[in-house]
Subunit: 424 residues, 2 copies
C-alpha cells in the first residue's frame, strides 16, 4: 500500500474492484475456468516461494508464543498447497451459476419478465489465520463473477501475500481483469472498518473467523454482512430411538472431528431412553477421551463414573473440543425448548423411530440444517453436493447453511416490452 | 410503554416477538387468512376511531407547519381506510410461500435433503409518515409467518396506535398469537437504535422512508437490514429507437406519477436521435409542466425554449417531482457508463430497435430492473404480478427489486437419514 491515507487507499481499491466487477459480470464461463486453472497451476509452480513466506509467518508466530491449533491452521506444506490448487481446479469444474434463468413470466400489459442470476458485485472477505482462504475465496468469487477484496490476518501476512501474488500473476496472464482480486496489504486494523464502511462500493462482506472477529465486524459494518457465528449443535435421542443408531450418531457427531462448527456440543436424551442409553455410550466416549458434563439426572445414571456437573454456561458453549454437555429431558417439547433457548441455529438432530416426533422436530426447530436420524457432521457444502463452500451461514438473510457459489449471486429482472407504458 | 428502561422494554418486545414467531412458523394457511380477513373487517368497523385519531395527528402536523406532500401522506379518509382493509383481504388471497419445497435431492451416503421455505422470524419495520404501512406490513409479515415489531413516525403516532389497536383486537379474536404484531409506542428516537441492536432476537429490519431515515438506520444497525435507498432511474433513447415509442415511454416514465421511486429522473438520448426527438418531446413535457435541465447539446438543440443548464449534482438527484435532467450521449457505451456512475441500481430502460444493443444494455446495466422498450414505472410488486410489496429493494442481498411475500422468507434444509454418520 502506498500513496495517500488508508481511507483513500481502500476507497481506491473498492473503485477498482467495482470496475473489474463490470467486466467479470459478463465474462464467459470458459474464460473464468481458464483463469481458475491457471491460478491452480500457478500455485503449484510457485510453491517454493509460498512455503518460504509461510516459514517467515511460522517463525514470527512461534516467537510470539502462538501454538497448538492456531499454529497448525497457519502452517502450509506441499500437500496443503496442492490442496489449494485442487480446490481451484474443482471450482473450475463447478457449474457457473451466473446467467441462470430463475423464472420467466408475462406480467402487466404483456411485459415479459425474466429473473436471471447475476453476480453480487464487489465482495469483501475478512478472515483469520488460515492462508488457504486467500485462494479458496479468490476462486469462488471469480467463478461467481464477483470481484473480491481480501483481508487476511496479520499472522499469515507473508503467506497471504505470496499466495495472492502467485494467483494474481497467473490469473492476469490467463485474462483476469485488473482489480478482480485484491489483497489489503497492511496489518493496520483500521483497514477492516474502512472496508466495512464502503457503502455503495462494497456490496457484501463475509467474515470468516472466530466470534471475536465476527463481533468486531458486526460493530462497525455499514455494508451488508453474511456471517457464521458459531455452532452449538444438538442431538436429541428420543424415547423411541433405535439406541444402536443413536449411539453411532452421537459418537460421530462429537468425536469424528470435534473442532468444527457442525460437531455436536450438547446431547439431549429423553428420560425413558437415558438409563439404557447412557452407560453404553459412556464407555465409547471415555475410550475416545471425551470429557462429559452432565445435569443431575445424567450424573445419577452414571454414578461412579467420571462426569462433571454441567454449569449454566455449558449449555451455551461451543467447545470445539472433546467436551460434551449432556442433559436428560422429560419430553420432545422440552428438547425443542432447550434447543430454541441455547442453540445457535446451525445444525440440530433428532434420533427417533416416531415419524410424528421427527416431523415435529423438523418443523419446529428453526436451524439452517435440521436432521432426522443422521449426524450433524453432514452440514457441509461438499457433503450436501453443493461444491466448495464459502462457509456455513447462521444468518437468515440471503444465504443460510452451507453457502456455495449460488450464495455469492443475486438476481435482476430483465423486462422486455413493445412500448408499454403504465396506465392511469 | 411502561415499566423499566427503554432498553429493557424493547428487549422484552423482541423476546415476545420471538416466542410468537415460533407459533406463526407452524400456523396453517387457513388460520392466517382468517386472521387477515378479521383484521380487514376490524379496520372497516373501527374506521371512525381511526379517523378521529388521524384528525389529532393532522391538527398537530398543521400546527407544526407541515404541509404539502407530507401532510397528504399522513391523511386518512374513509376511502384510504377501505383500501387498507382491501390490502389485507388481498394478502389473504395471495399464495402462502411458507412450506414450499424449493429443491430436494439425495446427497452423501444417501441422506435425503429438502430445501424448504420458512419464515425469517422476527422482522422490524421502521417507517415514516404513511400510517397505512402499519396495516400493510402487519399483514405481509403475518401471511409470511413472521412476527413484526412496527415503529412508525412521530407525526402519525395517534393514527398508527389506533390502527394497531384495531388490528390487534381483531387479529387476536381470530386466533393471532400474542406478540405476533407489536407497535413501539413511544416517540423516543432511541427506540430505533435499540431495536436495531437486538442481535439474535430481531432477524431483519426494513426501513421504509426517505434517505434521512435510511442513513440513520445504516449508521446504527447491528442486525441485518434490507433497504430501498432511492431511485435515480434512467431512460436511454438509442439511435435506432422508434421515436414515437420513445416519446410515449419517456413521457410516461416522468409524468404519470413523478413522486415515486420508479419514475425517470434522467433522460439520455443518442446524439443521432436527439435533433429529431427532442423538439417534439419538449412540447409534451412543457404542456405537462415538466421543468427541464439539459446539458449544452440539449440546450443547443432546444435553443429558444426554456431549458435550465444541468448542474453536476443534477445527474445524481432523485427529484421525485416534475423535473427532468437530459443529456445527449455519443454512444451506447457512454449511456451505460453514465448510468453506472450516477444510477441507484433501481430501474433503467433502453428504447431501441437494435436487438444487439438491447441485449448489451440488459446484460451490462446492473440494476434491480432493466427494461427494453417499456416504462420504468412498471417496477412494482403488483405490476410484476408478485402481489402486495413491502417495498423495492436496492440492496443486492436477499431480496432485490419489488419485494413481496417471498422476500420475507428464508429457507432451511431438512435432512432425513437412516442412521448415516460422516466417514473419515
Amino acid at each position: 500500500m502506498s500513496g495517500g491515507s488508508l481511507e483513500s487507499q481502500i476507497r481506491r481499491m473498492a473503485l477498482t474492484a467495482r470496475r473489474a466487477a463490470w467486466q467479470l459480470a459478463v465474462m464467459k464461463t470458459a474464460r473464468k475456468n481458464q483463469i481458475l486453472r491457471g491460478m491452480g497451476r500457478g500455485l503449484i509452480a510457485g510453491g517454493r516461494t509460498i512455503l518460504s513466506a509461510n516459514g517467515r509467518d511460522m517463525r514470527r508466530a512461534k516467537q510470539k508464543g502462538i501454538g497448538g491449533a492456531l499454529l497448525d491452521r497457519l502452517l502450509l506444506n506441499p500437500k496443503r498447497i496442492r490442496e489449494m490448487a485442487e480446490g481451484l481446479f474443482e471450482v473450475a469444474r463447478l457449474k457457473d451459476p451466473v446467467g441462470e434463468r430463475i423464472a420467466q413470466w408475462t406480467a402487466a400489459q404483456g411485459i415479459k419478465i425474466s429473473k436471471v442470476r447475476v453476480p453480487i458485485g464487489v465482495i469483501g472477505i475478512v478472515y483469520e489465520a488460515r492462508p488457504n482462504v486467500t485462494a479458496d475465496c479468490a476462486g469462488l468469487c471469480l467463478k461467481s463473477g464477483n470481484s473480491v477484496i481480501l483481508r487476511g490476518g496479520s499472522e499469515a501476512f507473508d503467506s497471504n501475500r505470496a499466495i495472492f501474488r502467485t494467483l494474481e500473476q497467473a490469473g492476469r496472464s490467463a485474462g483476469m481483469p485488473a482489480g478482480a482480486a485484491q489483497l489489503v496489504q497492511t496489518t493496520d486494523r483500521r483497514a477492516v472498518a474502512i472496508l466495512l464502511g464502503q457503502i455503495g462500493l462494497v456490496d457484501l462482506v463475509i467474515p470468516r473467523g472466530g466470534m471475536g472477529l465476527i463481533r468486531r465486524v458486526m460493530e462497525v459494518a455499514r455494508v451488508p454482512v453474511i456471517k457464521q457465528t458459531h455452532g452449538v449443535c444438538h442431538t436429541f435421542v428420543d424415547a423411541s430411538a433405535d439406541l444402536g443408531m443413536a449411539q453411532r450418531i452421537a459418537y460421530n457427531a462429537k468425536v469424528q472431528r470435534p473442532g468444527v462448527c457442525n460437531a455436536m456440543e450438547t446431547l439431549l436424551i429423553h428420560r425413558q431412553a437415558a438409563p439404557k442409553f447412557l452407560p453404553a455410550l459412556y464407555e465409547r466416549y471415555a475410550a475416545a477421551g471425551v470429557e462429559l458434563r452432565g445435569d443431575p439426572t445424567v450424573r445419577k445414571i452414571l454414578a461412579g463414573r467420571l462426569v462433571q456437573a454441567a454449569q449454566p454456561q455449558d449449555w451455551d458453549t461451543e467447545y470445539l473440543a472433546k467436551v460434551l454437555s449432556i442433559r436428560v429431558v422429560p419430553s420432545l417439547e422440552e428438547a425443542i425448548a432447550h434447543i430454541r433457548r441455547h442453540g445457535s441455529g446451525h445444525s440440530d438432530a433428532i434420533v427417533t423411530r416416531s415419524k410424528r416426533n421427527a416431523e415435529r422436530f423438523l418443523a419446529e426447530i428453526d436451524s439452517a440444517c435440521v436432521y432426522h436420524n443422521a449426524s450433524t457432521r453432514f452440514t457441509d457444502g461438499g457433503q450436501f453436493g453443493l461444491g466448495a463452500e464459502v462457509g456455513v451461514s447462521t444468518d437468515k438473510i440471503h444465504a443460510r447453511g452451507p453457502m456455495g457459489l449460488e450464495g455469492l449471486t443475486t438476481y435482476k429482472y430483465l423486462v422486455r416490452g413493445k412500448g408499454q407504458v403504465r396506465a392511469g
